[in-house]
């Protein structure tokens, strides 16, 4: 029996979406101040207009949906999925006003890419954009990495059990603290402490690389936001290659690995439980799959003699594999190099790494280490059951913060989400192939989008047909929210259309 979709339901969804929009509008004040500080007057006006528009839309939502009712799981999933779409559109306004986008759809693609920490972009003439817009690009990715709703929960939304469900809808299903607001605050505390340290270290590296102090700081801030959020945006078209600095490679490598780990793991280590770093199933899964994909890439490229210098295998090949596996997408090679030089073996290694991705409840995308670990352990469990005597009780444990006994439902859930990811990976690959791109390249780009990685072999471009862009936006959005919130939204729309959920008082 499907519950009816009442006006109260609609009001709850609109009201809480409004709160998230207000949060986005308030974050937009930061690039406005940056524009003023750097005397970028036209950019500052664009941001002023965008802030006023975003806050106005947010207040319209609040007025229309004003309610004191608490969201339940169903509402929370809808709030999460709709908020991300509305945030994408409104955040695209300053992009579009900048004149660097070929269309508003491209602006939406870039903002969705930012919020989902993907890092692929359609922006034209990136090397000439304002400091304000660059700040906005990286701020979007930083906010999206921790979660827009997590941010709204910290400041604007009353902490309730329903609020926790909104976080689940956003893919952050970890209770770091007993209270939901404290959990949100703890996520931000971890991120902000890393932000201060990371920005400082990268600013010093930038200054020592020959960049002037103020811009060294801005570059340090941007690159930290990008690496920590496993985003992959960079302020210049050459991406991380712009800096020509080994220090930048090493620091961003470390930051992106840290960013790809579960916030619960960070929290455990910060609380003094250092052993968790070695015992955690996600860390073990990450180390195993990173080693396998690195060996494939290094062996494949060594065999093809693409790189002959030993240092290149670390600075280029290993860097790319880590960037793919953490779903960061920072790159120190050109897109075309994947196709022209890395070839099928190298690209396959990167596709595998991107598809697996980082940890759950982190800033990373992909299948997630915990699901890989659970499915692998589930497989071993099944083999054991066959090999052991029938009377034997086979029990398998996994360790994630605490020891848990592996049961069938855990394996089923993990496998189901992985199947959804595979479908989403294939969807983009089929569409790109239909537009005439070779299959391996299409799969590369598609996996990059749906796993929110951001590495490109050159397909993503502002000249692409609208359908490819729309499918790309869908892949990034569905992959980031881990499907459930998206399914609830589509389910609600279908129910409304076919009349099974009628809006009734």
């Amino acid at each position: 029996m499907v519950r009816p979709f009442s006006l109260d339901d609609l009001k709850i969804v609109i009201f809480y979406t409004g709160k998230v929009i207000i949060t986005v509008g308030l974050i937009m004040l930061i690039p406005l101040f940056v524009g003023l500080a750097f005397a970028e007057w036209p950019a500052a006006v664009d941001f002023l207009l965008s802030v006023a528009l975003t806050l106005s839309v947010g207040y319209i939502f609040l007025i229309v949906g004003k309610t004191d009712k608490i969201p339940k799981l169903f509402h929370s999933m809808l709030i999460a999925s709709i908020s991300w779409l509305v945030a994408m559109v409104l955040s695209g306004v300053p992009y579009y006003l900048s004149g660097h986008m070929a269309s508003f759809l491209d602006a939406c693609f870039d903002t969705m890419s930012g919020y989902t920490t993907t890092g692929l972009c359609m922006i034209r003439d990136l090397d000439h954009i304002s400091i304000a817009l660059n700040t906005w690009r990286h701020l979007i990715t930083y906010t999206g990495g921790q979660g827009i709703i997590v941010l709204a929960l910290t400041f604007l939304i009353i902490p309730t059990s329903g609020a926790y469900k909104m976080m689940v809808g956003e893919g952050k299903d970890e209770h770091l603290q007993p209270n939901v607001r404290n959990t949100a605050i703890q996520i931000w505390k971890i991120s902000l402490i890393y932000l201060i340290i990371g920005t400082l270290v990268l600013s010093i590296a930038g200054y020592l690389s020959g960049i002037k102090p103020v811009m060294a700081f801005m570059n340090g801030l941007w690159i930290f936001m990008s690496a920590w959020s496993t985003g992959g945006f960079a302020p210049y078209s050459q991406n991380i290659l712009y800096y020509h600095s080994l220090a930048f490679y090493v620091i961003t490598l470390i930051i992106s690995i840290l960013g790809s780990f579960n916030f619960a793991l960070h929290n455990a280590i910060w609380s003094g439980n250092r052993k968790e770093a070695w015992k955690n199933i996600e860390v073990r899964s990450f180390v195993t799959t990173l080693s396998i994909t690195s060996i494939i890439a290094i062996a494949g490229l060594a065999y093809k003699k693409v790189y002959t210098n030993i240092l290149s295998f670390f600075t280029i090949v290993f860097y790319q594999v880590v960037s793919a596996h953490t779903t960061t997408g920072l790159s120190n090679i050109y897109s075309v190099t994947f196709v022209k030089e890395w070839g099928d073996v190298g690209m396959t290694a990167i596709i595998l790494a991107m598809a697996i991705g980082g940890s759950a409840a982190s800033t990373a995308g992909g299948f997630k280490g915990i699901r890989m670990g659970i499915v692998f352990k589930g497989l071993i469990h099944e083999v054991k059951k066959v090999l052991y005597p029938e009377q034997a009780v086979v029990s398998t444990k996994i360790h994630h913060i605490k020891d848990m006994v592996l049961d069938d439902s855990m394996v089923k859930n993990a496998a189901l989400i992985m199947v959804f990811y595979v479908f989403t990976y294939m969807l983009g690959a089929v569409v790109d192939t239909a537009y005439g791109h070779p299959f391996i390249q299409s799969l590369f780009e598609s996996v990059s989008l749906a796993s929110n990685s951001g590495l490109s072999c050159g397909i993503t471009n502002y000249t692409n047909p609208a359908l490819m862009k729309i499918v790309g936006i869908f892949q990034m959005w569905a992959g980031r929210l881990e499907f459930m919130a998206v399914f609830v939204l589509f389910g609600s729309i279908i129910m409304l259309i076919f009349g099974k959920r009628n809006i009734a008082k």
């Binding site: 806050l55 106005s56 090397d127 020959g210 020509h244 120190n332 190099t337």
Partner: protein, 185 residues
């Protein structure tokens, strides 16, 4: 005589090939950065001539200077050793939001994976010169956008007032509470 005719014929064919097949001599030819990255194996270790706009920062290092040049949407790092950089190149503008950078012509060795610089793809300059000076952009504020922004702020103020004003219901409640308070007194 036959040999002379043969040589002449070959020469005519060779020159014709230049015109009809549009083959240009390798030396001095300006190669686009796109062509370099797409055919990196062909150009690896060879001396090439490129042109591009200087963008971002000029990064001074111990043994030289890094500049990044952009040509038709593709950017690449050029390492200019100190002796070449100090010999008189004067880059006035670097490309960014506020300026179009100087266009430089670089003659240098192209490296597909540079052994000196972390395996990056780069060019080590042998000669560099500014061929076209950049200029600051005329960044004008759009009047229409300012008007729109002011209007939006006005709309926002009204919406904020509507949302945050005490509702009639809570006003009445407050009034009742106040009256009760007075009665009790």
């Amino acid at each position: 005589m036959k040999r002379i005719y043969s040589i002449l014929l070959l020469l005519i064919l060779f020159i014709s090939a230049f015109f009809f097949l549009n083959i240009k001599p390798a030396f001095g030819k300006i190669v686009s950065l796109q062509e370099l990255i797409e055919n990196s194996k062909t150009y690896d270790g060879k001396t090439v001539t490129c042109r591009g706009e200087v963008i971002g920062d000029i990064m001074v290092r111990k043994d030289g200077v890094w500049i990044n040049i952009e040509d038709n949407g593709v950017a690449m790092g050029v390492f200019v050793p100190n002796e070449i950089y100090d010999s008189g190149i004067n880059i006035k503008y670097t490309g960014g939001y506020k300026a179009q950078g100087d266009i430089v012509q670089v003659e240098g060795v192209f490296n597909r994976t540079c052994g000196e610089h972390n395996g990056e793809m780069d060019i080590h300059a042998l000669k560099i010169s500014v061929v076209q000076e950049g200029h600051p952009y005329d960044l004008k504020i759009s009047k229409n956008r300012v008007i729109m922004a002011v209007l939006m702020i006005f709309v926002l103020s009204i919406l904020m007032y509507i949302y945050h004003r005490p509702s009639l219901k809570s006003k009445n409640n407050n009034k009742d509470n106040h009256n009760n308070h007075l009665t009790l007194n």
